[in-house]
Assembly symmetry: C2
Homo-oligomer: 656 residues x 2
């Protein structure tokens, strides 16, 4: 049906013809309005909203006014007879209202007879930048950190882009934080950035290294119950607030993947988080304490966060929020939601999504992530969360995100943090109308391709619940065999896929790691029974026999082959449809995206071949004749290395 | 229909199950019979036939007898009540009869109640080895020359393989001959080889360098009318025949691609050939004089051989045969036949086929060539020729030909030289039954795949009459753009494809180079009119407009895209079917062929992408949405080089 729809759409494309489309480099993101020649009449509150409207609004007069009784950051827009009024409780709301108006203008929508009332779902809509002091960005695929030498014009564009989708907070540095982030000279830099972002309603936050009292303060310990340590943090926080009165607070990765934390001193997450919270409390600052913890000795990493945090439910201070990744492992193409979200009842929680595509083809693959995040919200009620964080995909590349379509994920994150009820399609349409074209048929086609792209990525990378079979370091290509002697088991794919002669997948049922028990009863029962477990999570919760009969009637092995092959075919189809868009897309972006889609098509083949040939060494079953058979050799793929680390986008995928 | 047939066949494969198939390295070619434990009763003429039968024949008693009145090399086989009689005029015929019997045995056919009478179509069935004195083989993709250090067991296997398919002559050295081939020490080596091949009815021949009298003899000239030169050749020939009394004669590449020839001394092909023929005549030796000539100044290389040789029709001595390549250019995947074949009426001619896959994917691609040669014979009557030569694909690789399936081309060449009326399918079936399996369903499937393979190669390399768009040196991959400054135009692809904004192809009509006029009137008319010209030769004879309407209803451009894409898909299908054969094929050969087929599938993609993207820069037309769109980038493909020359098989194709 979907396929048919696209074909019909395409037939209608033929009439497009070639129009002159000016070259664009993507640097303007979705804010592609031109400066107006004559400033519009904007009256009322003097604020950033006024500047934006005077610079870009082409419509009739606008009045900005403050109005009590509206939610913080909320706004109303009313228009009649060519006159528009934006009302909000404060400047931020006015700015969001102004961007709403400009968005309508850019999308070619009518701006008359408006009666809009908006308020954000979350007070805190925050980007996490994993930027290092040396300018590298962990899992950054779009160049160096934009905060390394922040150019005012660049910072302004960043601030406008964030504010235009409602983002109101940004953590400037990597969660694997260097202690130096709190050194005085570093704080001066942070202040400079904060000053540039403030007019756009964006507060800055810092990731902190829990051992900072030792490393920066010269203390002998970082024990959170130590009086000197407590005093050091209090002083440091005061120092920060003197520079940045609206500083947001701290993001903490503690006792996770080798980072220091309270457990190093015999203390708990609660001890650590509450101590920091106490220092921040007088300034209304917050602590975002990450629940991303796992241990090498654990027989199921997916169990660990729950085991470590559930005992503390209700014990965290009220300005602590536990920041939990959407899934229990680590940003895989598909995971079930992290069971902590439904288990913790007395603790403020926020979700951490990953906008940067660490596990989704980096800046080479077109994967629109809104459907993944919406899938999360279909299990976790938005209202059960306090805030939403997204690991940014932003760097100093001209087009900000490495891949033109990766901008859509930054955009979608902001829009969903504002309103998680928006559909993936609404957001894709909005973004396409603002970035590429207002041609409705073209938008409909591209939008559908975007909507399909995440499931397609799951198909060619790790369908049916398979997870974490990535290359060891860069997480770009497939290495389901990766298991060098001496490596922690839970850092190797065989730990997760557990392929053997019987089947494939991780038994997390009650007979296995019992991870299912962390879910509410109804889900526990559903996941625990291979017959009722959703097939897209089958190998997540079960060790599935190769000859297990799927709903399609195929064996699990045959279904696996078909899923991988579908992924390859769909990726090629995506490329073909993009090629067909050439007449309506400007040349530079057309070719840049085309080049990426070609890489993606080749990579999909690489994924399919590597995974099927490797798993075939366990299944000992032939590939169905009606799937395309591998064109690469397993032994060659196993020797192949991409010589990049975690700070770069690979130039391309497999080269043989 | 074809596709359907194969699917049906495959459904029947499912029941094969896994049987124990012992590993094989392909070294035994199609002569895979084991030594018998007890020698069969073979009586009569003591000859090689007797030895072969005593070693391998498992049936009842055989009598070998000489019988007058049978054609040279012909034989009869009669069997009744378990007793078999092979009769022939001489030992060679008896040997061919013995191999016929052994072939039936190996194929699992009944050997009772036989009443066979066979005689070869040509007296001369000859391999041309393009082997150099240093052991390299020009356009050799299977290792070094087998004649470099000829091991007796190896020579014997070579002789048996040749004799088993009726090959009775072999030119030991490259047509680009070093003068040293006639030096006395070199002749001693030639004698040693001749002695080893003689028991199998195989005569040796040598390619000669026309300047040998200067280079070897120390004369001042090689003028064929010079008395000293004439004497030198006479003496040299006498010297050869003293060593090798049944020496076959000379193969000569003269005044072609820089080789010396009579024109260097103001003489003609006739002067040169007849002088050599006179020296050989007393010994019953022959001259095979190649018609492969072309000139840099010619506006159509396809015209040249005709222009240069037709004036001499009827003037060559009766022991000269003009050896003409099957097509007018150079062993392309598809060419029309060389018009000399139908034009020359008074001159003995032989066809030169190329068994080695210089232009057909080297030893990496499975391309069964019998259909190509049969296509030639559908235009040129076999009886109009005097002999058949094939450029060998043999080297010192364990499996002789680099690709297991390339052995089929050596086999098919011999069988067709014996009997050009055999169908491609008969030959493929014979070869498969002897080499891989006697499972009838498996043979039927593989046979069909072999039969389709040449047309498929044409599709992914150069469909619709396109030709010679190969990489400059190694002729392996696509380089339709290859045209370095200073290179002879007729050594560059644009000379042949002539792509421009209007269309693609070489105008050889009467309005163009008038090459069509060299063909008989009926063909001339057929080829001259774009409406009647066979579509598979369209761009050979016409500069075809991009929007020319093909019989399919598609434009020429769209048809071109579909042909290339069909080639890719069919190559993948070939791989899939091979994969499905695993249960019935021995492990080593299965994996070695699979690896090659994977290269071929990737190469087909490379060909399609390079050619379509390059031609698209002229056509400015989009690719149809229902063909797979290129996954490689033209600029990257244009920079890509395979660093091999003309003496190696590329390890693999495009690597990006």
């Amino acid at each position: 049906m979907k396929r048919f729809l696209l074909s019909v759409l395409f037939l209608q494309l033929v009439g497009w013809g070639v129009s002159v489309v000016r070259a664009e480099d993507g640097s303007r993101l979705w804010l592609r309005f031109d400066n107006v020649s004559t400033a519009a009449a904007v009256t009322g509150v003097k604020c950033t909203a006024m500047t934006e409207l005077k610079t870009y609004w082409t419509g009739g007069p606008v009045t900005l006014k403050r109005q009590k009784g509206l939610a913080a950051d909320g706004y109303t827009i009313t228009s009649q007879g060519g006159k528009t009024v934006i009302a909000a409780a404060g400047d931020a709301g006015l700015l969001y209202g102004a961007y709403h108006l400009l968005r309508l203008q850019q999308m070619g929508k009518s701006c008359d007879n408006l009666g809009i009332k908006e308020a954000p779902a979350y007070d805190l809509r925050i980007l996490n930048h994993w930027d290092n002091p040396n300018g590298t960005v962990e899992r950054g695929f779009a160049g160096k950190s934009i905060f390394l030498n922040p150019d005012p014009m660049h910072m302004k564009m960043y601030a406008r882009a964030c504010a235009s989708v409602g983002i109101n907070g940004t953590v400037l540095n990597n969660v694997n934080a260097k202690p130096e982030a709190l050194a005085t000279e570093s704080l001066a830099k942070t202040k400079a950035i904060a000053d540039q972002l403030r007019p756009y309603g964006i507060r800055v936050y810092l990731s902190i290294n829990f051992a900072s009292p030792i490393k920066v303060g010269g203390l002998k310990t970082a024990d959170p119950l130590d009086a000197d340590v407590i005093r050091w943090w209090k002083d440091k926080v005061n120092e920060i607030y003197k520079l940045i009165p609206d500083f947001g607070g701290f993001l903490v990765k503690a006792n996770s993947e080798g980072e220091p934390g309270p457990q190093d001193f015999g203390r708990t997450h609660v001890d650590g988080a509450n101590m920091l919270a106490a220092a921040l409390k007088p300034h209304k600052g917050i602590v975002m304490w990450r629940a991303f913890v796992y241990a090498p000795q654990s027989s199921d990493r997916a169990n660990q966060a729950y085991l470590e945090f559930m005992p503390f439910d209700g014990q965290f201070a009220d300005n602590v929020i536990i920041q939990i990744k959407n899934g229990p492992i680590d940003f895989q193409p598909r995971e079930p939601y992290s069971p902590l979200f439904t288990a913790m009842q007395k603790t403020p929680m926020m979700v951490e999504f990953q906008i940067t595509q660490e596990y989704l083809g980096a800046a080479n693959h077109l994967v629109y992530l809104a459907p993944m995040w919406k899938e999360f919200f279909s299990f976790v009620k938005p209202a059960s969360l306090k805030a939403m964080a997204g690991v940014a995909n932003i760097g100093d590349d001209t087009n900000w995100c490495g891949h033109h379509f990766a901008q859509a994920n930054w955009y979608a994150f902001g829009r969903l943090a504002w309103n998680p009820a928006l559909s993936s399609k609404e957001i894709a349409d909005e973004w396409l109308l603002q970035t590429f074209t207002t041609n409705a048929r073209c938008v409909a086609t591209l939008s559908q391709l975007m909507l399909d792209s995440r499931e397609n990525c799951v198909n060619y990378m790790m369908p049916l619940g398979i997870h974490h079979i990535f290359a060891g370091i860069h997480h770009y290509g497939p290495e389901p065999w990766y298991s060098p002697r001496g490596t922690r088991a839970d850092w190797t794919p065989p730990y997760y896929h557990k392929a053997d002669s019987i089947g494939l997948g991780f038994d997390r049922t009650l007979a296995g790691s019992a991870n299912v028990r962390q879910y509410p009863d109804s889900l526990c029962r559903l996941y625990n029974d291979i017959k009722t477990c959703p097939e897209n999570l089958l190998a997540w919760f079960h060790h599935v026999p190769w000859d297990y009969r799927m709903r399609s009637g195929r064996t699990f092995w045959d279904e696996l082959c078909h899923k991988y092959d579908d992924g390859v075919r769909e990726t090629r189809r995506l490329l073909a449809f993009w090629d067909a868009m050439q007449p309506v897309i400007d040349q530079q972006r057309f070719y840049e995206v085309q080049r990426k889609l070609r890489i993606q098509a080749r990579d999909a083949e690489w994924w399919r071949d590597a995974c099927l040939l490797y798993f075939q060494t366990f299944s000992h079953r032939p590939l169905p004749l009606d799937v395309e058979h591998p064109v690469h050799n397993l032994d060659e793929m196993m020797k192949f290395r991409i010589h990049i680390g975690m700070y770069e986008n690979p130039e391309c995928g497999y080269t043989k």
